[in-house]
Point group: C2
Chain length 249, copies 2
DNA sequence: GCAATAGTGTCTTTTAGACAGTATCTT
DNA sequence: AAGATACTGTCTAAAAGACACTATTGC
């Protein structure tokens, strides 16, 4: 905090919150972008976000940064986040043509079934874009391509040693679905037996007793599992997730 | 960014940068705190920090958030950071009595030999405090105890699977010194052979050919090593660092 | 029966973890 | 020589990684 210049008030930058919303749809990792309806970058695609509302006299007021992120998320998707984590804060004199702007970026994971895109509100359009490698095939507004790259990197990195991937699935899921999710995120096939051993050891998921997946398309019905709520622990896999190098059958 | 309310200007929070500066001194992890010379919390100890200077017409101007962090660091320690990483951004209406304040916190690692505490400037006093478990034996100003807990947690966590600990040592160091550093940070003894195997495999250090540690206090002189500059890779140890459970000899 | 997906058992390879040995310095 | 610290070799235990086998459904 200010330890100097006791009472001087400094000019302060505009403060924004942006949210990178990830979901898995059609077997691909996707990110929610909105088309800007006003300048600057009118017509360009951008991460959803907006100003932090710090004036208690205004109708919209954000008690905290995270509350602001949750509000933006709700406005764009119609739901609360299954998972919300602060990614980074960017701030400099050049990233926004209007001057020195600071933006705190969150990233969220939401199962596709829960998302209800909010069209026709303030945003001209909202759409899911497929993540391709480290980015999306589009030039985004501001420095949002770079922010998105960071978000994707963080997501992939955390998938390696935590259980966050479960937040991209519905409450109940099969182990094959979970493995598929990991494979989509990592872009690599995983070894089934080792994957299940790791899960069991980490205690990340537990059986929904006596409940099996219905509507199989031919094949043995799978046991349904649910996420085991965790204490405040970040790291579940002492080693990284198990890859496989075997060719597909 | 603002995708709504095209041109409306919102009230914006005060924007600060704080820095958690870690070093190792007298075999212990320490953190730099300064005594506040003005209200609020006058006389209390706090993390060094200050307002982000975004007015190009002022004599002090921060081109970016990171530049502001580097400036604060230089003001308090007299040196550039060996390692500087953004930790988190906190912001809400309650953490500062003066209202809604946003603060981006960085954490820095500096070898003790390089630090020159800057007394007699604006800060009433600057001092290194020993980290004890997850905190420091002091009640700090604002929410700085909580921020510090987060910083310590992040530091310990990153030590497990990256090479950041080397930034707490001088440019040239012995493997025993490096191991000691890891042990101080983790609070646990490590297995020597396995530790060296991991280092070799990860390739994070390399010999300074033909150069040995001088001034040994009896004992075989150790080979000096230096940090191998890395590409943009975060994770060096595929598994966690090797513990040992054997009792000391 | 066959195709398809779920789930398990076991063998091999890698590496962590333990421990004891050798090496090289100061005094 | 004694003491101290540096460094290495090797054994064991545990987990990753590969692969093949069995199980249960729909058609």
């Amino acid at each position: 905090m200010t330890t100097e210049n006791k009472h001087k008030e400094y000019k302060t930058p505009k403060s924004m919150v942006d949210v990178v919303i990830f979901t898995i749809d059609e077997g691909k990792l996707k990110v929610l972008l909105i088309k800007r309806g006003a300048d600057p970058y009118k017509g360009a695609w951008a991460l959803p976000g907006g100003a932090v509302r710090v004036d208690p006299k205004e109708p919209v007021f954000d008690e905290s940064l995270e509350a602001a992120a949750k509000r933006e998320l709700l406005e764009e998707t119609g739901v609360e986040a299954s998972y919300l984590e602060q990614l980074m804060t960017v701030g400099d004199s050049k990233r926004d043509p209007s001057g020195w702007v600071l933006s705190t970026v969150y990233f969220a994971l939401i199962p596709i079934e829960k998302i209800r895109l909010q069209h026709g509100t303030d945003a001209a359009d909202a759409r899911l874009f497929t993540v391709n490698g480290n980015s999306v095939n589009k030039t985004l507004a501001y420095d949002h391509n770079e922010i998105l790259r960071n978000a994707i990197k963080r997501l992939r990195s955390k998938v390696e040693y935590t259980s966050i991937a479960v937040h991209l699935l519905p409450d109940e899921f099969t182990l094959s679905e979970l493995q598929k999710t990991y494979e989509i995120l990592l872009g690599e096939p995983l070894a089934k037996a080792a994957f299940r051993r790791s899960l069991a050891k980490a205690g990340i998921v537990e059986e929904v007793k006596g409940k099996m997946k219905e509507f199989t398309h031919g094949g043995r019905p799978a046991q349904l599992y649910k996420f085991t709520p965790q204490q405040d622990v970040d790291i579940f896999f002492p080693r990284s997730i198990t890859r496989t190098s075997s060719s597909a059958p």
